[in-house]
Every structure is written in structure tokens, then in C-alpha cells.
């Protein structure tokens, strides 16, 4: 795989920034849906550089953040079963459940390992039989196809000790819920680049059509995000539509092959989002012909009602209702070292992004 990088020319970024700032003449709220965008906006210093009247609000696109507490507790109880190895992305380790986290469960003796893809989990299943390997299927349309590929491979190779706990979430149904919320004032969406690489631009068409929302699918570099903001501001004066700024990766039809794999293994079902609640057809469950790999069916354990910490306002952060410093716990009871909510843990979490890059005053004391 070859890596390329966008122009490093600062004058382009500066020109784009000047144009954006000259166009802003009233209060505007845009939501960046994806957690990676939130991190990029914070770390590149875009927020303090744009006119104060433009507010960039984080959305629900942080996979770890939207995983419900019930599901974390569920994963921990699976890890406590005999001969079970939980394999997971590292970002999940420190997310607090009701009383514990995967990291704490590991310290107590559960076999929990960090991997970089579901295929790593499959490798462990091959070499460590008869242990039962459960991969925590966390993520959006971006991650689901590669996990589907691992499941298909496991079926072809008759590997019967590899399972997936499917906690996948789908982005468009969550955006519908956000766009339909009466209390929300959003003037446009910066749509996720990686998710859209898989699903294309079509699944977002309801946003301009039904909700009159301008949309731009954006890449992750400073120039990408600035250009997306510029395109959104221009759309405000015209008929809204879904535009693709991240053309070097996203095609309108998306990645057909990846979609096929995902649909072969999974189908949409209702899902519980942390801090947001149930959203119709916003998760993925296994199709019947792959039920042998479904940890939900094969282990019989079911999630129990979680203890929710009422002080945590991650849900409001994920819906763009507040920005992280508006939560009373931010940087006081809740810090990256002692997180209360997942948004302070994840490398894509809005609270972590604000804490790391934008919460200036605490250092100026």
C-alpha cells in the first residue's frame, strides 16, 4: 500500500480559511458526524481559527462512545467464561461499563487481547483450539465488512471456535434521529469519509430531501475539512444536496464488494446507542446461515440492565446538544486518566479531543 499526502502548502489553508471567515455573517452550527473528524478539527486548530459564529458540533460517529453500557457489561461477563478469549480493538479496553471495564477484567485474570483486525482474532482461533475466541464487533459500516470477511473465511475453513459479538452500528439511521430531533439546531452535516467510502453518498440523500440539510462528505486532513466547511457554507444559499469533497476515496455508489460481504453476513436490526437509546434498524445482527459464529446465540448470556451514571452527559455530546466543556464533570470528575464516560476514553471521543487540544484554561492557571 502506497501512502500519499495532501499538499503541505500553508497558503492554501490560509486562503480557504479567509474565504470561510469572510462568508460567515450569522450564527451557523455544523455537525461533524465522525469522531475522527472531531479529533482532526481539535488537533489542527480549526475551531479557534474560524469565525466565532461558526460552531462545529461533534456527532455520534465514535464507535466506542456509542457502544451501550449493557454491551460492555455483556462483553465482560463473556470474558469471565471458562476457555473464552475476548479479542478487541484497543480503544475498547478502558471504556467504563456499570462496574468494571475490559482492562480491569483483564487485570483480574480474564483473557482479553488487543488486536488490530478480526483476522488477527481468526489467527488466534486457528492456533489456540479448543479455546473459544470472541471478537468484539464494534464499529460502523467501516469495520463491519472486514469482520464479515473474517466470518466468511471462518465458515469456508470450518473454524468452529471463532465468534463475533456483533455490536455494530449504522450511521444513516442515527443521522435521521438527529435531524428529526426538534431541540436540535444544525445547519449542515460534515459526513464521515471512511463510512462513506463503503456506503457511498446515496444513503444520506434523505438529509437534504426530508430535512433540508446541506451535506458534505469530507476527508480528514486540515485542507479537506476546511474545504468541506466552505462547501457547506456555500450550500446554505442554495438548494441543499450531498456533495463529495473526499473524492480521492469516496464514490457515489460506495464499495459494492464490501457492501455485498456485509449484507451476506449481517442484516439491520434495532440497536441501543449509549446515551441516545434505541434507534430503529441502526445495528447489525447475523443472518441465519452464519448463526454458528454469533456469540449472542452461542453463549446464551444476555445483557443485563446497566447502572447508568446520571452525571455523564456523553449522550448529549453525541447528539450535538452540548459541547464537552458544558458537561459539569468535564476535566473535574471525568478525565482521560479517570474517565466516567466513553467520550473521554476513545481516541475518537469528543471529550478526549477537547481535553487534549482545546481546554486551554487549565494550563494557564
Amino acid at each position: 500500500m502506497n501512502l500519499t499526502y495532501l499538499s503541505e502548502d500553508n497558503t492554501i489553508a490560509q486562503k480557504l480559511l479567509n474565504r470561510i471567515n469572510s462568508e460567515i455573517d450569522h450564527n451557523i452550527n455544523f455537525m461533524e458526524v465522525c469522531g475522527t473528524h472531531t479529533m482532526a478539527i481539535s488537533s489542527s486548530g480549526i475551531r479557534p481559527a474560524v469565525d466565532k459564529r461558526l460552531k462545529l458540533l461533534s456527532g455520534p460517529g465514535c464507535p466506542v462512545c456509542v457502544t451501550s453500557q449493557e454491551d460492555i457489561d455483556w462483553a465482560i461477563s463473556l470474558a469471565e467464561q471458562k476457555d473464552v478469549v475476548i479479542v478487541t480493538f484497543g480503544d475498547m479496553m478502558r471504556v467504563p461499563g456499570s462496574e468494571s471495564s475490559l482492562e480491569k477484567a483483564k487485570a483480574k485474570g480474564s483473557d482479553i487481547r488487543v488486536v488490530y483486525s478480526a483476522l488477527d482474532g481468526l489467527k488466534i482461533a486457528r492456533t489456540e483450539q479448543p479455546k473459544k475466541i470472541i471478537f468484539l464487533g464494534v464499529g460502523f459500516e467501516t469495520t463491519a465488512p472486514t469482520v464479515a470477511a473474517a466470518v466468511i473465511l471462518a465458515k469456508e475453513n470450518k473454524i468452529n471456535n471463532f465468534f463475533v459479538l456483533s455490536l455494530f452500528k449504522l450511521i444513516p439511521p442515527a443521522l435521521r434521529k438527529i435531524a428529526a430531533a426538534p431541540e436540535l439546531k444544525i445547519d449542515g452535516f460534515i459526513l464521515p469519509g471512511h463510512v462513506s467510502t463503503i456506503i457511498g453518498s446515496e444513503p444520506y440523500e434523505f438529509l437534504p430531501k426530508d430535512f433540508n440539510q446541506p451535506c458534505v462528505i469530507a476527508g480528514f486532513e486540515t485542507l479537506d475539512i476546511l474545504q468541506a466547511i466552505y462547501l457547506l457554507i456555500n450550500q446554505l444559499k442554495k438548494l441543499p444536496k450531498v456533495e463529495i469533497q473526499y473524492r480521492r476515496s469516496v464514490k457515489p455508489e460506495g464499495n459494492i464488494q464490501a457492501q455485498k460481504m456485509m449484507n451476506q453476513v449481517f442484516r439491520a436490526a434495532d440497536s441501543n446507542w449509549r446515551g441516545i437509546g434505541q434507534i430503529k434498524k441502526s445495528g447489525l445482527v447475523f443472518n441465519p446461515e452464519f448463526k454458528d459464529f454469533d456469540a449472542n446465540i452461542q453463549f446464551g448470556l444476555k445483557p443485563k440492565k446497566a447502572k447508568i451514571n446520571p452525571a455523564c452527559r456523553c449522550g448529549d455530546v453525541l447528539l450535538g446538544l452540548i459541547i464537552p466543556p458544558e458537561c459539569k464533570q468535564f476535566a473535574k470528575g471525568c478525565t482521560p486518566e479517570h474517565p466516567i464516560g466513553p467520550c473521554m476514553v476513545s481516541s475518537e471521543g469528543a471529550c478526549a479531543a477537547y481535553f487534549k487540544y482545546e481546554w486551554l484554561s487549565h494550563r494557564r492557571d
Partner: protein, 324 residues
């Protein structure tokens, strides 16, 4: 790690020398009439061979650099090996050859050592611990290295691009299927640093930004001085491949370990001299002034390419790759 050092090790081992928590300790005995620097470090890198180096080369360079940044001339080293039963002799020989080569380049002698063999069930194949003794040259009395000498207005310099060692290690682990031509920057810096100290006696402090990277080192420097440091994002050079890999995985190269870099804080008047000297050396050809020391705000700050400012914090735990 910081808490462990402060709340456990310092609690039980505390003395004025240790309490400085510097890369190496000055352990001068008056009757010796020489000032002596002493340091130790253990090397546990995985994989043990990687582009640009191996665990042996690292074990020499790391300890040499810890002595050099304090202004001492590295002289003697001990090397202690913990080897897993069954570790291939050829690999061990390769590691020793590489240690011998680096010791020659750094002009130090390995004068004592130890070997222990541990059982096969151990996870790692080999660990190396090296301790080093350095002697301060006579001219060392002319330069005053230490956080207490840093003043607002001083310049912050580094001898080249950052993030290459850790990127090389990540790629060598083969967990991600990327291919990129990145080598570890692992190198002994003692000759370069000795040259700089001869060029200017207004260098205030030096540190090698190893684990935790440039961000952590700058934070430690700022904390030690109770002043602020502002660095200019556009002046910190990073290879496009390193940036690309960081972008893909959600890492920040400012926190990536380096093994051949030195951060220098010096009086602003010395900037040009020091840069010229560094750039003439192979190990400093991409040297740059990356920032300055300020009275306010305290802590470490980055001026972004958009002209805005953001804080650069100490890292909590390790960086983990993002999910999507």
C-alpha cells in the same frame, strides 16, 4: 509511569541526586577531581531486529545519548543480557556485532557485563540492560546545563525529523500491512553534542526525546523550568510516510519515540551557530529551530499552520489505533 516514579521509586529511594530525575546522574566524588555522570537503561524492544537497527545498537545508543545530553563524554559501559533458553546463537552474535560497531563509533568501551538464561516459557527472546559512565571534559565548567538556566526568549532546536524510530518499529511488527521505507533514526549523538558544546557555552539544557516523543520531552522541560514552550507546527519536520501512517492509525507523531534526536534549549543568540554546526553533521542535516521559551502561558503549546494555538499535553497511557 510518571506516577510510578514519583509515588513509589522516589518515595523509597529519594536523595538529592535521584530527585533531579534527569537522563543521567552526576555522581562526583570531590577527591576524584573529575565530575562523573552515571546512567542505566533496559532495552526490551520487539522485534529485536528492525530497519535501521536492532536491540543491541539501541542498547548502546540509548545509554550513550543519556550521558551525552548531560554534557558528559561517555566512556565505559556495562552490558547485561537476559536471554531466553534456545535463543539462536547467530542472532546473539549479530546483536553483539552491532553493539561492538556502535561502541566503536561512540568511542566507548564495554568493560563489564552479565548473562542470565531464563526458561523457554518467557515471552521475550532477549532483554539487554546497559549502564554507562561518562566523564565531564575540563571545559564542562564553562557551560551550565540545567533547567534552572532556561530563560524566556530562549530557542528550542532539534537535530532533525521526528517519529521515525517508532514508525519503523510499528512497521517491523507487521501488525499493519503497510510498506514504507522508514528506518529507525537510532544513532549515538555524543560527537554531535560534544561539538555543539564546544561551539556555544550558552546551551541551557538538552534531552533526547525517546519514549513519549518530542511532546513528552518538551513537557518535562517546561515543567522543570516553570516556564512555557511554544513550538511552531510547520517547523517540526516529519517524513510524509510517518505522517501518512499516523493519519491512518490515528496516532500523533509528536508522541512517537526517537532514538537519534536531541532537543536543545539555547540562548536565542546562539541559534544560527548551532544550526550551522548541526547541519554540517550527518546526524543533524535536517536540524531546525522549532520554537521558543515563553514566560506565559506555562506548559507546552503548538502554533498550528492555521495560526491558532493548542496545548500539547503529556500522554495518558499508550497511543492506541483508532477503530475507523
Amino acid at each position: 509511569m510518571h506516577r510510578l516514579i514519583k509515588e513509589l521509586f522516589l518515595k523509597y529511594f529519594n536523595n538529592p541526586i535521584l530527585a533531579r530525575l534527569e537522563d543521567s546522574a552526576e555522581v562526583t566524588e570531590p577527591q576524584l577531581k573529575k565530575r562523573i555522570a552515571f546512567t542505566t537503561d533496559s532495552y526490551v524492544v520487539q522485534p529485536i531486529f528492525f530497519p535501521g537497527g536492532d536491540i543491541g545498537k539501541l542498547s548502546i545508543c540509548g545509554t550513550v545519548n543519556d550521558l551525552a545530553v548531560k554534557g558528559a563524554e561517555p566512556k565505559y559501559l556495562s552490558a547485561s543480557f537476559i536471554i531466553r533458553e534456545g535463543f539462536p546463537f547467530n542472532d546473539l552474535e549479530r546483536i553483539c556485532q552491532s553493539m561492538a560497531k556502535e561502541a566503536r563509533i561512540a568511542k566507548i568501551k564495554i568493560v563489564t557485563g552479565d548473562t542470565k538464561v531464563i526458561e523457554r516459557s518467557a515471552q521475550a527472546e532477549i532483554y539487554i540492560t546497559t549502564s554507562g559512565i561518562g566523564i565531564y571534559p575540563p571545559e564542562a565548567d564553562k557551560y551550565h546545563l540545567g533547567a534552572e538556566n532556561i530563560q524566556p526568549g530562549d530557542s528550542v532546536l532539534i537535530n532533525g525529523r521526528i517519529g521515525e524510530h517508532e514508525t519503523a518499529i510499528i512497521l517491523a511488527r507487521g501488525q499493519f500491512e503497510f510498506k514504507a521505507d522508514i528506518k529507525s533514526d537510532c544513532a549515538p549523538l555524543n560527537h554531535l553534542i560534544a561539538n555543539l558544546l564546544k561551539t556555544s557555552n550558552r546551551i541551557r539544557m538538552m534531552r533526547d526525546p525517546t519514549r513519549g516523543g518530542l511532546a513528552t520531552t518538551l513537557n518535562e522541560m517546561a515543567e522543570a523550568t516553570n516556564l512555557g514552550i511554544i513550538i511552531d507546527e510547520t517547523k517540526v519536520l516529519i517524513k510524509p510516510e510517518v505522517k501518512g501512517i499516523c493519519e491512518l492509525l490515528g496516532f500523533d507523531p509528536l508522541y512517537f519515540a526517537n532514538e537519534g534526536k536531541v532537543v536543545i534549549i539555547a540562548a536565542r543568540s546562539e541559534e544560527k551557530k548551532l544550526l550551522a554546526k548541526m547541519r554540517r553533521n550527518q546526524l543533524g542535516k535536517n536540524a531546525n529551530v522549532i520554537g521558543k521559551v515563553v514566560k506565559q502561558p506555562k506548559g507546552v503549546w503548538v502554533k498550528t499552520k492555521l495560526g491558532s494555538t493548542k496545548p500539547l499535553l503529556m500522554l495518558e497511557g499508550q497511543q492506541l489505533p483508532r477503530i475507523c
